[in-house]
């Protein structure tokens, strides 16, 4: 009995070695559950619609291998390992820099191309030459935000709320701080960690600084608690957020306190210019056939473009060889993406000429709208 | 136990020859039939047969680790019976939970008193009557207990843990009486008490017994216990090695030698 059991266990272990072989696969890992689930799913819908539009490449059907990183770095590593295992041709993902960077650490040594849909921290593409992204970097976003705070809002002292355990937030705060101080302003950084609900200690610290502008670099899960608490404790200053605030969890969770909350985020059709705007609007129409427009944001466009550039690169490379795809991607020039033209030539994997939008939440009663203020592009 | 000692009485169920209230002799109040118990793999009691008739006072004697307290816990249902049967008031009781056995008329004065140290004397007494509806009967019983132990009446509001050992023993006995039991089980009521107190306690036990409440007392202090008990059992390594009327046991040579240590 005992010996049989041992033998059986051994046989089962060997059975685990069995491998599954797939066709042309593109791995997609995103925040489909957890604290960033809204954005992650919006992005995934973009990828899916793009996939419906271009289901084949080089005559082969593209199969999406979707993996949920559960909004954790560890989950991202698990996903990346799974992709390497499945032998995917390339990888799309993910939204947050905190999740993209660990996955890039797996994919770069494995020599698999990764295109991040939402990671704006410069460090992501610095991991290596196989890592690309669709959006702008936080260096740009931080500088734009600093200019907005200094010029448009006329602020001279800014309190920066920073989520200290997130790459994106820490990076963006740093760039904003540098840019704003270069403009001659004063800043203070108030740290919090993920999942903070009680901000009274931070707000205590805010009092002595008494800023005339607040910059929030974290995510909506925390903003939904922070902003109402700020308002309730008598802070009426304008608040500017980063693209992580572009999430329905903010106005849904925080309610009317978010009235007038401004944020910079990925370009939507309204802020794009020229042919890109038309392509984006066209894509929106296609998107509407499968999903509701509630799920259409700049991240959706970004997800679609991640798919599109990869298909283009595979076509250009003419094979599914990893190195060939990387080379094709690195030589991409003026690709007509739905989020703007994409050029990787001469960059570290961040496209040149990205467009950013400035938006604001506006409330009437309990319902809110996301108003487009203007588009900003990198000179 | 030597052969001579064993000869005095077979373990178990012979009717006692001398007892104060012969009227209530028909039906045993409590009966252990071949009870065996284990703590894990260790057998503590082996084939124990005992019987207590209504109105009787029976004592259980034995050295340390001979299984006395285990017998008591088995009767109460704190230790399970692994073999054999336990009957109480004509009912099979070895499957019943402790609270049911208490409700059917058992009460216990545990070893070392075990009063609730952070409850007042009154609350301790209330705990004794836990399974009964509060009401007039409660006051009646309280009055009886306070009459028996006037000292408790003076200290109704005091915390149990602050009383002396003798007072705690009284409280424990009073607590047991509060449930109007048919059978009181006492575990070493004399332990750690001054000789005068021991006698006082046994006198009260006798008084209680004379009200028709059966008493089953586990003791090391054999002389005192046998002096007032009707019958006794002697336990050794989990087995009943001697049993019989108290007088006979007191006179038994083997008993003296093995247990009392007399030469």
């Amino acid at each position: 009995m005992r010996r049989i059991a041992v033998t059986l266990a051994f046989a089962l272990t060997l059975g685990g070695l069995a491998l599954a072989q797939g066709t042309i696969k593109i791995g997609v890992f995103l925040e489909l559950s957890g604290r960033m689930a809204v954005t992650g799913n919006d992005t995934l819908y973009g990828v899916r619609v793009a996939n419906e539009q271009q289901p084949t490449v080089n005559g082969a059907t593209v199969e999406l291998s979707v993996c949920d990183n559960a909004s954790t770095p560890e989950g991202s590593v698990v996903c990346a390992n799974r992709f390497v295992d499945e032998g995917v041709v390339a990888v799309i993902g993910s939204y947050s820099s905190s999740h993209s960077i660990p996955a890039a650490g797996v994919l770069q040594p494995a020599g698999v191309v990764m295109v991040s849909t939402g990671s704006t921290n410069p460090a992501t593409t610095q991991v290596g030459d196989y890592i690309f992204r669709i959006p702008y970097t936080d260096q740009f976003q931080g500088a734009v935000a600093a200019q907005y705070a200094h010029n448009d809002a006329g602020a001279s002292s800014v309190a920066i709320f920073r989520q200290q355990d997130d790459d994106y937030s820490v990076g963006l705060s740093g760039f904003f701080k540098d840019a704003f101080e270069a403009l001659g302003g004063r800043t203070t950084v108030l740290d919090f960690t993920a999942n903070t609900v009680d901000f009274s200690a931070q707000i205590n610290n805010l009092r002595s600084f008494n800023p005339d502008f607040i910059y929030y670099t974290g995510f909506c899960a925390e903003a939904a608690s922070l902003v109402p608490q700020l308002r309730q404790q008598g802070f009426t200053q304008s608040i500017l957020g980063g693209d992580a605030s572009d999430d329905t969890q903010c106005p849904d969770g925080g309610g009317a306190a978010f009235d007038g909350f401004t944020f910079t985020s990925f370009g939507e059709p309204e802020v794009l210019t020229g042919a890109a705007a038309e392509r984006a609007a066209e894509f929106r129409t296609a998107f509407e056939k499968s999903y509701t427009l509630d799920h259409f944001t700049g991240f959706t466009l970004s997800g679609a473009d991640a798919y599109k550039v990869l298909v283009q690169a595979i076509t250009d490379a003419g094979s599914t060889d990893h190195a060939a795809i990387r080379d094709a991607l690195a030589n991409l020039q003026d690709f007509p993406g739905v989020s703007g033209d994409i050029t990787y030539v001469g960059t570290d994997g961040t496209p040149a000429n990205r467009v950013m939008g400035l938006y604001a939440y506006q409330f009437s009663g309990n319902s809110w709208t996301k108003a487009v203020l203007k588009g900003i592009s990198l000179e | 136990m030597t052969g001579a000692g064993r000869g005095a009485a077979a373990s178990g169920e012979h009717a006692p020859s001398a007892s104060p209230s012969d009227a209530a002799r028909r039906e045993p109040l409590l009966e252990l039939k071949g009870v065996t118990t284990h703590y894990g793999p260790i057998r503590v009691l082996r084939d124990v047969n005992m019987v207590i008739y209504p109105g009787e006072m029976v004592c259980l004697l034995g050295g340390n680790a001979s299984g006395k307290s285990t017998t008591l816990k088995t009767v109460l249902g704190i230790v399970g019976v692994s073999q054999g049967e336990l009957w109480f008031r004509g009912e099979r009781a070895d499957g019943l939970p402790t609270s049911e056995r208490i409700a059917r008329g058992m009460a216990v004065v545990p070893e070392n008193r075990r009063i609730f140290p952070k409850m007042t004397v009154r609350e301790n007494l209330e705990m004794g009557a836990y399974l009964r509806k509060p009401g007039a009967e409660f006051d009646e019983d309280l009055a009886y207990v306070l009459e028996l132990f006037p000292r408790l009446g003076e200290r109704l509001g005091q915390l149990g843990g602050t009383m002396s050992g003798g007072e705690q023993q009284m409280l424990a006995m009073g607590r047991a009486l509060m449930s109007r039991p048919k059978l009181i089980l006492m575990d070493e009521p004399s332990m750690g008490l001054a000789p005068l107190f021991v006698e006082r306690i046994f006198e009260i036990i006798k008084q209680v017994n004379s009200r028709g409440i059966s008493v089953f007392v586990v003791e090391q202090n054999a002389n005192v216990a046998l002096a007032i008990a009707d019958r006794g059992y002697v336990l050794q390594t989990g087995e009943v090695v001697l049993s019989g009327p108290a007088g006979e046991l007191l006179a038994n040579e083997g008993m003296k030698r093995a247990y009392l240590g007399e030469t």
Binding site: S33, T188, S200, R207 | F116, M127
Partner: protein, 400 residues
């Protein structure tokens, strides 16, 4: 568990000296801060005080559950934080969802009625009593109707959530802990940790893992503004509601424990379970009651917590930090002692909230906000090493 804790002998004047000295230092620090920066005015510190009290009350409510369970079965109920989480989420569903569809309402009502049946049997001690059945039927009808036709206000949501969570606490005890009575304490503790993990992940499964806004329509969440020495203090009515609800519940609990028969049985079981059993106390039932009460308090704390901060965390982590801190509060106050839990909770609330106000970020000092969460742990370690019985508790450490 002792409602009337025996305070060991100590020199009262030394205690007073320490207290007065501490107050003096705090006053001096407040005056100094005010001198440094105008923002640290009376309203600032008054705000810190009321928030400390508010947070402390919440900790106290949770801590009571830990301390009751520890007092009675000497188990650190690791899952208590998750019970608190479930309490908050249950209430969230009750007040935020539009009326439930009839099948769902009937199902939920049946479950609740079954719980009521259990309860009433519980206290009456007689199963299948017609009155009990009738009561359960009435509850069933009322609950089903309420769920299907109206959206509950925060108060009724809280009451209902307390009930649901209480049943959950009892179930946890019955399924996971009761089979382990008498097992080594480590096994029980490991099981408790496992239950806590189970509930966290079950929360992900059932409530979806994201931070959830918690804003029932209520007068109390509205803003409250008053003047402290001419300076405005912005806050909400929650600073009144939370301590008052806590006070009511603590008084009710104290009355229950000292006055009722079951409450006395609870204290007796805590002091000496075996003897309590010998008195005819159904110890398992008493333990179940303890879990019921502790879980109900935790549910109330969950609702108040959500209303105070306007949102509740994702289920996977919501219970952890409040749970651990409340446990620390119970230890600080003296685990096993009801007043200890309250004292410890309020003290921890002050330690966490008022200290950050006393040492805020200034131009010369980066503040102690970042260390806030470690206070509870460090205070707990220090208390355990210096005085394991806590501030008002008695020694429960294992005897030789």
């Amino acid at each position: 568990m002792a409602a009337s804790a025996v305070v060991p002998r100590r020199r009262p004047w030394a205690l007073w000296l320490v207290v007065l000295g501490g107050l003096g230092l705090i006053t001096w620090r407040m005056l100094y801060l005010h001198g440094v920066n105008e923002a640290f005015n009376a309203a600032f510190f008054a705000g810190a005080v009321v928030r400390s009290l508010q947070l402390g009350s919440l900790y106290a409510l949770i801590a009571l559950g830990y301390t009751m369970v520890y007092g009675i079965i000497r188990l650190i109920n690791f899952a208590h934080g998750e019970v608190f989480m479930v309490g908050a989420f249950a209430a969230y569903f009750l007040f935020s969802r539009t009326p439930f569809s009839w099948p769902v309402a009937l199902l939920v009502a049946a479950a609740i009625a079954f719980g009521v049946l259990q309860f009433l049997n519980f206290w009456r001690g007689r199963a299948r009593d017609p009155i009990v059945l009738a009561g359960a039927l009435v509850v069933f009808a009322v609950v089903a109707f309420a769920l299907a036709s109206t959206q509950l206000g925060w108060f009724w949501a809280m009451v209902a959530s307390m009930f649901v969570t209480g049943v959950l606490g009892m179930t946890i005890d019955r399924v996971a802990y009761r089979p382990l009575r008498g097992a080594p304490r480590n096994s029980m503790l490991i099981t408790a940790i496992a239950v806590s993990f189970f509930l966290q992940n079950f929360g992900i499964l059932a409530f979806s893992n994201r931070q959830t806004p918690f804003r029932p329509a209520s007068f109390f969440t509205g803003p409250l503004q008053f003047q402290v020495f001419g300076e405005p203090l912005f806050t909400s009515w929650m600073i009144v509601l939370v301590p008052s609800v806590t006070a009511v519940l603590v008084v009710a609990l104290t009355l229950f424990v000292t006055r009722t028969r079951l409450g006395k049985a609870m204290r007796a079981t805590a002091q000496d379970a075996e003897t309590a059993r010998m008195m005819g106390v159904n110890v398992d039932r008493v333990i179940a009651t303890t879990f019921l009460l502790g879980s109900m308090l935790a549910a109330a704390a969950g609702v108040l917590w959500g209303m105070t901060f306007g949102s509740i965390n994702q289920p996977a982590i919501f219970g952890i930090l409040p749970g651990i801190k409340a446990f620390a509060a119970a230890v600080i106050g003296g685990i096993g002692s009801l007043p200890g839990a309250v004292v410890g909770g309020v003290l921890l609330g002050f330690l966490e909230n008022f200290l950050t106000a006393l040492f805020p970020r200034t131009e010369y000092f980066s503040g102690i906000t970042e260390y806030k969460d470690t206070f509870a742990f460090l205070a707990m370690i220090v208390i355990l090493l210096v005085r394991p019985s806590g501030i008002v508790g008695e020694d429960l450490s294992e005897k030789v």
